[in-house]
């Protein structure tokens, strides 16, 4: 057991840090700390340019096989890249859905032709993706998907509605889970289709959130089209593909996320010191709890990321989500609580004019809902990790 990065890894860390120090300047200087959950609406054009810059300099697909255009780097180096980006305040990615969800899905299930067509646009940061899984009636219960697609005249005709689709306004393509066998039930008869967003049958409507801003969207498909071959995996195997996508969600990016959490914590601590709240024993104890839990998040990520497969198969991500989401939500509560009455005063009169502390407080309510709610995580952990038996029906 050796839980340190080795010297060569540390050299790579310095390389990443140097690159970031150089790159996050000029046109990109304004992007420090921009974007990301709760701030997804910020500086979109500049962040798209940043995505192309990342691609140009070879920072996308670090862990992908070299044969597929990636760099085949170890998980340690991927962790380091994410950590350094977060430490430098690099902006929230707009290409992460392509790089971290669709790309790995294509690497697992895609044909050679699909990989050749779709991976380069992800790797060079020019083609953005969004994910069309959740529906109004299929949130926690993804198998209740009702969007349907029919193969007619050599192409798929897609009808239905998706919801909670991040960055749909910016995306060029969407990977859509749709029911392709009429009358099929639950997990059967679904397919994963690749659908271009720029067509008459696709309508994106932003959802105004409790923050007054929008980053989630509704996406309506009204006879939208997808090419016959743009289905990932065999038609009817969409559930398997979707589960594969969800399994790769999170992983090495966890460490970058934690570095971002640490920056947020430091801001809350600084505010608490400025207001004197850090001297209030109850708030001081909550700050200490928060800081300790953040270290525990990191220790747990270190100990489980590289653990030999098979110990607790596939549920590490569920455990991690059920740790960080409630932690982050509590940090949001702490962020306004250390401000006291001042925490109730907004940054301005507009509905979306919130202070960073307020934005954290409000937006983190979503953390325990999206990406598998706390409740879904608990059921998965109980049944798949602990082996508790399913109840009736």
């Amino acid at each position: 057991m050796d839980l340190r990065f080795d010297e060569a890894d540390e050299a790579f860390r310095r390389e990443v840090a140097c690159w970031l120090a150089t790159a996050l300047t000029g046109e990109f200087a304004e992007l420090v700390d921009a974007g990301g959950p709760g701030r997804e609406h910020e500086h979109l054009q500049a962040r798209k340019a940043w995505e192309r810059r990342l691609g140009r300099d070879g920072w996308i697909g670090l862990g992908w096989p070299e044969a597929d255009g990636g760099r085949g780097l170890s998980w340690e180096r991927q962790v380091i890249f994410h950590e350094e980006c977060a430490r430098a305040g690099a902006p929230g990615r707009v290409g992460h859905i392509g790089e971290q969800l669709l790309g790995p899905t294509l690497l697992m299930f895609g044909t050679a032709e699909q990989k050749a067509r779709f991976l380069p646009g992800i790797l060079d940061g020019t083609r953005l993706w969004c994910q069309g899984y959740s529906e109004p009636g299929a949130g926690s219960d993804l198998a209740a998907v009702r969007t349907r697609a029919e193969l007619r005249g050599g192409e798929w005709h897609v009808d239905g509605q998706k919801v909670w689709t991040s960055l749909a306004t910016e995306a060029d393509w969407c990977f859509v889970l749709a029911r392709t066998e009429p009358g099929s039930l639950r997990h059967r008869g679904l397919s994963c289709l690749l659908v271009p967003m720029d067509q008459p049958g696709v309508d994106v409507r932003p959802i105004v959130q409790l923050t007054g801003t929008s980053e989630f969207n509704e996406v309506f498909f009204d006879d939208a089209r997808a090419a016959r071959d743009d289905v990932v995996g065999a038609p009817g195997e969409g559930w398997k593909v979707a589960m594969g996508t969800l399994a790769v969600e999170r992983g090495v990016s966890t460490f970058g996320q934690q570095m971002g959490f640490a920056r947020e914590f430091e801001r809350v601590l600084a505010a608490a010191r400025a207001t004197g709240a850090a001297d209030d024993p109850v708030l001081a104890e909550r700050l200490l709890d928060s800081w300790m839990q953040l270290q525990v998040l990191r220790y747990t990520a270190v100990m489980t990321l590289g653990a030999p497969a098979g110990s607790t198969p596939g549920t590490e991500a569920n455990v991690a989500k059920l740790m960080w989401a409630p932690w982050h939500r509590r940090l949001g509560e702490l962020a306004v609580d250390v401000l006291g009455a001042a925490g109730t005063v907004a940054a301005g009169p507009g509905v979306d004019e919130l202070t960073p502390a307020q934005r954290l407080h409000l937006f983190t309510r979503a953390d325990t809902i999206y990406g598998g709610s706390d409740e879904v995580q608990r059921t998965v952990i109980a049944q798949r990790m602990l082996g508790l038996p399913r109840g009736p029906a």
């Binding site: 949130g139 209740a144 919801v163 109730t344 907004a346 409000l362 309510r365 809902i369």
Partner: protein
């Protein structure tokens, strides 16, 4: 002992609920405020000699619980608390302003309570200091505040439209609870009560906030339970899932106990003022905690829809947060309880 609400009290609740279901708007120009004025609710606790109904804090609480339930954004709580306080005052100014308060022509309120170090100081006729985060501040014609005069605490009244008073409206996250900051610079003031009156005024304010919050918290639970009864996932209503049932049960315990605590304190401010010194701050602290917890769970148990601007859950969540952070805040209110209960020096 007589624990329940009587028929007249139940009628009052029905009347107010019907009114709030029908009329909307926010602030002094709204239809709902006009109806509240017409019904004479603003004078509910004021003696008949000033044109009020002469009812007790329990009747006031009934209206407040309904306003909390509906989250109606009018300066009722502040005005009626101020009117109740002034009704007990022998100061001539009380008799002058009470008819206006009862009629709704004037709006008054208390400055946000807090530690003595934050009080304005001065003479019995002029005060200097900053009163921050005053709830309903943008609406107020008259401001009541504890103040330090020659080393003694008094309860003072300050008109807001005079030289020496500068008002700044503050933008708020909880848009149902506007705020202003008042900078008093030798502001003309009159003393309307002594230190005991100032303490009783704060107790009344805290009890009023508690019962308003208890009403709001109860609504959060009701709305969440209604959602779980109908919303289906995995082929059956969410409310059939035992894990959610048990969480709702814990919320129900929180809401029931907050409700009882708020009513105990609301009764006590008139019925047993000596015990209100503990029960009122205790009720405010407990109900704010309960309200924050149940409003947070309201978002969680509604899932994604509870996170949208369109759904009312966020308004309750923001109100719960402001309830906890305002009116002295959590630590100060709890320290009141601890000291008055003899737990701390």
């Amino acid at each position: 002992m007589d624990v329940g609400f009587d028929a007249a009290q139940r009628d009052l609740r029905r009347t107010v609920r019907d009114l709030l279901d029908r009329e909307g708007g926010a602030g002094r120009g709204s239809p709902v405020w006009r109806r509240i004025r017409e019904l004479g609710l603003l004078g509910i606790t004021v003696g008949e000699r000033h044109g009020g109904a002469g009812a007790s804090s329990v009747e006031l609480g009934i209206v407040l619980a309904e306003l909390g339930r509906a989250l109606t954004a009018v300066p009722f709580l502040q005005t009626t608390v101020a009117a109740t306080v002034l009704d007990r005052s022998a100061a001539p100014v009380a008799a002058q302003v009470l008819p206006g308060l009862v009629a709704g022509d004037l709006v008054a309120g208390l400055a946000t309570p807090g530690p003595a170090s934050s009080l304005p100081v001065g003479t019995r006729s002029a005060l200097t200091g900053v009163l921050d985060n005053v709830v309903d501040g943008p609406h107020l014609d008259l401001l009541l505040t504890p103040a330090l005069v020659d080393g003694d605490t008094v309860l003072a009244a300050v008109r807001t439209d005079v030289a020496g008073v500068a008002r700044t409206t503050l933008p708020t996250v909880d848009r149902s609870r506007p705020q202003a900051r008042f900078v008093l610079d030798g502001a003309p003031a009159v003393v309307v009560g002594d230190a005991a009156a100032a303490a009783r005024a704060v107790d009344l304010l805290l009890a009023a906030v508690a019962v308003e919050s208890a009403g709001a918290a109860r609504h959060c639970l009701d709305a969440t339970v209604a959602h779980l009864r109908t919303r289906e996932q995995f082929g059956r209503p969410l409310g059939t899932f035992q894990a959610l049932q048990h969480r709702c049960a814990d919320l129900a315990v929180l809401v029931e106990s907050a409700w009882s605590t708020a009513w105990y304190a609301t009764w006590a401010v008139d019925g047993d003022p000596a015990t209100a010194a503990v029960s009122a701050p205790l009720a405010k602290a407990y109900c704010a905690d309960a309200f924050r917890a149940v409003a947070g769970e309201m978002i969680q148990l509604h899932g994604g829809i509870g996170f949208t601007w369109e759904h009312p859950a966020h308004r309750y969540f923001k109100r719960a947060t402001s309830t906890d952070l305002l009116f002295g805040g959590r630590a100060w209110v709890r320290s009141l309880v601890a000291r008055r209960a003899g737990l701390r020096p």
